[in-house]
Symmetry: C2
Subunit: 98 residues, 2 copies
């Protein structure tokens, strides 16, 4: 199976962090429910610096990733993000319990 992972490193305006976390959760749930090619989205915050967010995103392929970038729910939180770095990565092994 071809899969396309990407790592997003985000910094969030601390004043909007609680709102951002709620919207990100909704966005992740909507993406999994509505986009066939979104396989997994795992968002975490750094323990002692919670406005630093890391998301490991796994898409079925490059096309699914590009389709995700065009969805409206992807854009609703953009104004709360003070820094965004997308790190191109290649899979080694990606496994989850069924």
């Amino acid at each position: 199976m071809s899969r396309k992972p990407i790592v997003a490193e985000l910094e969030i305006d601390p004043d909007t962090l609680e709102t951002y976390r709620a919207l990100l959760t909704e966005e992740i749930e909507a993406s999994l429910a509505l986009e066939d090619g979104v396989l997994s989205l795992n968002a975490v915050s750094i323990r002692n610096n919670p406005n630093q967010i890391r998301i490991l995103e796994i898409y079925a392929d490059q096309e699914a990733y590009e389709a995700h970038l065009r969805t409206p729910h992807f854009h609703q939180t953009a104004h709360m993000v003070t820094s965004l770095t997308l790190i191109e990565v290649d899979p080694i092994a990606m496994r989850a319990k069924p």
Copy 2:
């Protein structure tokens, strides 16, 4: 459900990288198969710097994480790792297709 994610950032001796990748894949498959509390292990390499590895590890709880650290397969690749940073993180939203 209580879940314990952690992010591992590793640098691998380039001379051992192919062996490391093969052993890491075996180790991930064994962990998912043998450890009830290991929910997901996603290992990727940085596109233009493939000896830089990132692993997002999701355990059922802190106890499952500590049990994983005691397994023999966790230790068989240690001599190939030239740098290891474990980043304590907290879940925001972690979702995967069933």
